[in-house]
């Protein structure tokens, strides 16, 4: 399988290539936009960059997040309470781009995008310097329209695979995906777990062999030892709820940024330089 046009040219691909050049698994932290407020999110992304993030995922709050566990649900509720919308997330992304932040992936449910309109969203995402878009509830069977709008705008549509994905789905997902493939580590919702699922390594290795894109693993990963384990067989690792919980526990504290940076650094440490 060869990478299609546009698949290798983006900032996300460059970030993965850079990490690979340093023999390092890419670190991809996730924060919810607007939790506790948008100005803080903007500063937290700076802290994540200093802490060693290669790509940053920005969660767009949605009223009915069916794939999220309690930690991310609460963060979305707080952000919605602050009036955060997809539009304000795009403005946030534009500001981050100006500040020299790592590549940004918007992590959203489909309805806010659908509501804005696929074409207008793709244009706005490109204008805002968004590098990739990950839509939790949009499998490749339904993603043709969004892909058709994002692709000419130069924005990657991040693909998703899970432990229940049959082998034939890898090609289907890769056909529309750019940037990287997000491999969901387990059946379930977002949120920290103590263990890594049995069989994960084999599943990820098989997907890597079949895919034409880097594979990042996420869902339930929040500790340096888990990051170290993932790094031995994946191209990237996503840490979400553990970080969102840290923000929840220390929102408003003077040292929030320092804590977030230190936490990110602790996750980056086992990945090497």
């Amino acid at each position: 399988m060869s990478a299609g046009p546009g698949k290798t040219g983006g900032r996300i691909a460059a970030a993965f290539a850079g990490a690979r050049g340093r023999k390092r698994c890419a670190l991809i932290p996730y924060v919810t936009a607007g939790d506790p407020d948008l100005a803080t999110t903007r500063r937290l992304v700076g802290a994540l960059r200093r802490g060693g993030a290669d790509v940053v995922e920005i969660g767009v709050p949605f009223s009915d997040p069916i794939a999220d566990g309690p930690v991310n649900q609460r963060a979305a509720d707080r952000a919605l309470g602050n009036g955060v919308t997809l539009r304000s997330c795009l403005e946030l992304a534009a500001g981050l781009r100006r500040e020299g932040a790592p590549p940004v992936v918007l992590f959203s449910y489909y309805n806010p995008i659908h509501r804005m309109g696929i074409g207008p969203f793709a244009q706005a995402a490109a204008r805002s310097g968004v590098d990739g878009v990950l839509v939790t509830d949009l499998p490749p069977e339904e993603a043709g329209e969004l892909h058709g709008a994002l692709s000419p705008a130069g924005v990657d549509l991040i693909g998703l695979l899970s432990p229940t994905s049959a082998p034939d789905r890898v090609a289907k997902v890769c056909a529309l995906a750019g940037g990287f493939i997000y491999f969901i580590s387990r059946t379930g919702v977002t949120g920290m777990r103590d263990d890594l699922p049995a069989g994960l390594e084999g599943q990820v290795r098989a997907a890597r062999r079949a895919a034409n894109l880097p594979i990042a693993v996420g869902f339930g990963i929040g500790r340096p030892d888990q990051v170290r384990a993932i790094a031995s067989f994946a191209d990237g690792v996503v840490v979400g709820s553990a970080l969102v919980r840290l923000v929840e526990e220390h929102a408003g504290a003077a040292d929030l940024e320092d804590r977030v940076e230190a936490f990110c650094r602790s996750l980056a440490a086992p990945l090497g330089s």
Binding site: F62, P65, Y110, H114, T164, R169, I184
Partner: protein, 400 residues
């Protein structure tokens, strides 16, 4: 017979908007359902339980006192789903899905419930077929429908309160989807209406089509002709699609779906998706829903918990586009008026959901305007609502 296309789309509606983790299980479910519906053994077993356990066929009752109230020009027939086991049409679907779950080797079933009728119907078949069962119910609905919570527990189901969001049906569906995505290997999700990702809207419709299949034979036997109109309430829309489906090819039969108008058409005061909604994607399907400018789902209100939901089944959106069915709404007060009227005129206490259909008949059906014969789907009985109605009457009396 209109079926969805291979992607589960009814025109521009429907589809399969779910996390990747559910794509495999939905494909497995679709294949199991397709195999089952053409397997004489499965159909025989389904028929057996519907007849000997669920009490089918339900009667088609000619409600002459109600007809007299309208002026006597229109014969009114009530399809008595309220007489089915557990008190509503919901059992038609849960028997079918439980048999399917058993056939797929699943050992556990889960469900969401609003009014509690689908939860009770699921808990019932879980007991019958020896399956473990958990039912998700919004905390607000548990308060409104305390009797049904106790019924589910008597039947051996675990009722899990949902504290997220508006604490009603929508949030219960989200929580059930989270459970399913976590325990998908041994669990089947018994979705209770013609909602969600493909194949649910088509599969639930197929299991509920028995309502219209029976009603069509019954009216032909009683009257020697088809009715002029069918009237049914629409929450997700399973009782209405179940009644409508057998008549889709009969152009002379009007179909009217009645949504919950609540206390007014301002956002948050109703659940009339076709009156105040727009196209969107929620909980697996593309359809009409109540949302704000940013695409977040709006709170809804109805006196009836079973109609209190922000989205409508995708096939209804398609039937509306094609003009085959029309959709309207009645208010909480009109539904309550119909609840009392049917009790007094016919000795039948309807569910508040079904009372919406009766209310529309009372409002629009005078003087023969709907033709000479109509069928109203009495989708459930009102025992579950008696306490709520009494409490409301007490509050109004006390406050007056």
């Amino acid at each position: 017979m209109k079926t969805p296309d291979e992607h589960g789309r009814f025109g521009p509606y429907g589809g399969r908007f779910v996390p990747e983790t559910l794509m495999g299980p939905l494909r497995d479910l679709e294949e199991a359902w397709k195999a089952a519906r053409s397997d004489p053994g499965f159909l025989k077993e389904l028929d057996h339980y519907l007849k000997t356990y669920a009490g089918r066929p339900t009667p088609l009752y000619r409600a002459d006192n109600l007809a007299a109230r309208l002026g006597g020009q229109t014969r009114v027939y009530l399809k008595r789903e309220d007489l089915a086991h557990t008190g509503a049409h919901k059992i038609n679907n849960t028997v079918g899905q439980a048999l399917l779950a058993r056939r797929m080797g699943k050992t556990r079933i889960i469900a969401e419930t609003g009014a509690g009728q689908h939860g009770v119907a699921t808990a019932t078949v879980a007991a019958l077929f020896r399956l473990r069962c958990a039912v998700y119910m919004g905390e607000e609905d548990m308060r409104r429908q305390a009797l049904n919570v106790y019924r589910m527990r008597l039947l051996g189901a675990e009722v899990r309160p949902v504290l997220a969001g508006s604490r009603t049906l929508k949030d219960a569906i989200s929580e059930a989807m989270r459970d399913w995505v976590t325990n998908v290997r041994e669990t089947h999700y018994v979705l209770g209406s013609v909602l969600g990702a493909h194949p649910y809207p088509a599969m639930v419709r197929d299991f509920q089509s028995v309502i219209g299949d029976e009603a069509r034979l019954q009216i032909l036997e009683a009257e020697g002709r088809l009715p002029d109109a069918l009237i049914a309430c629409v929450g997700g829309g399973s009782n209405s699609i179940g009644l409508f489906h057998a008549f889709l090819g009969d152009p002379g039969v009007r179909m009217i779906g009645v949504e919950a108008g609540g206390t007014g058409l301002e956002p948050g005061r109703h659940a009339a998706r076709f009156a105040g909604g727009s196209l969107g994607v929620l909980q697996g399907t593309r359809t009409f829903l109540l949302q704000d400018e940013a695409g977040n789902i709006l709170p809804t209100h109805s006196v009836s918990a079973g109609l209190d939901y922000a989205a409508v089944g995708p096939e209804h959106a398609h039937l509306r586009d094609t003009g085959r069915a029309t959709y309207t709404h009645v208010s909480d007060d009109e539904a309550l008026g119909a609840f009392h009227a049917l009790a007094e005129l016919e000795g039948i206490i309807p569910a508040l959901e079904s009372a919406h259909a009766v209310a529309w008949l009372l409002r629009e059906g005078e003087g023969g305007r709907l033709g000479s014969r109509v069928i109203v789907n009495l989708s459930g009985r009102g025992d579950k609502d008696v306490e709520q109605v009494a409490r409301r009457a007490g509050e109004e009396a006390g406050g007056a």
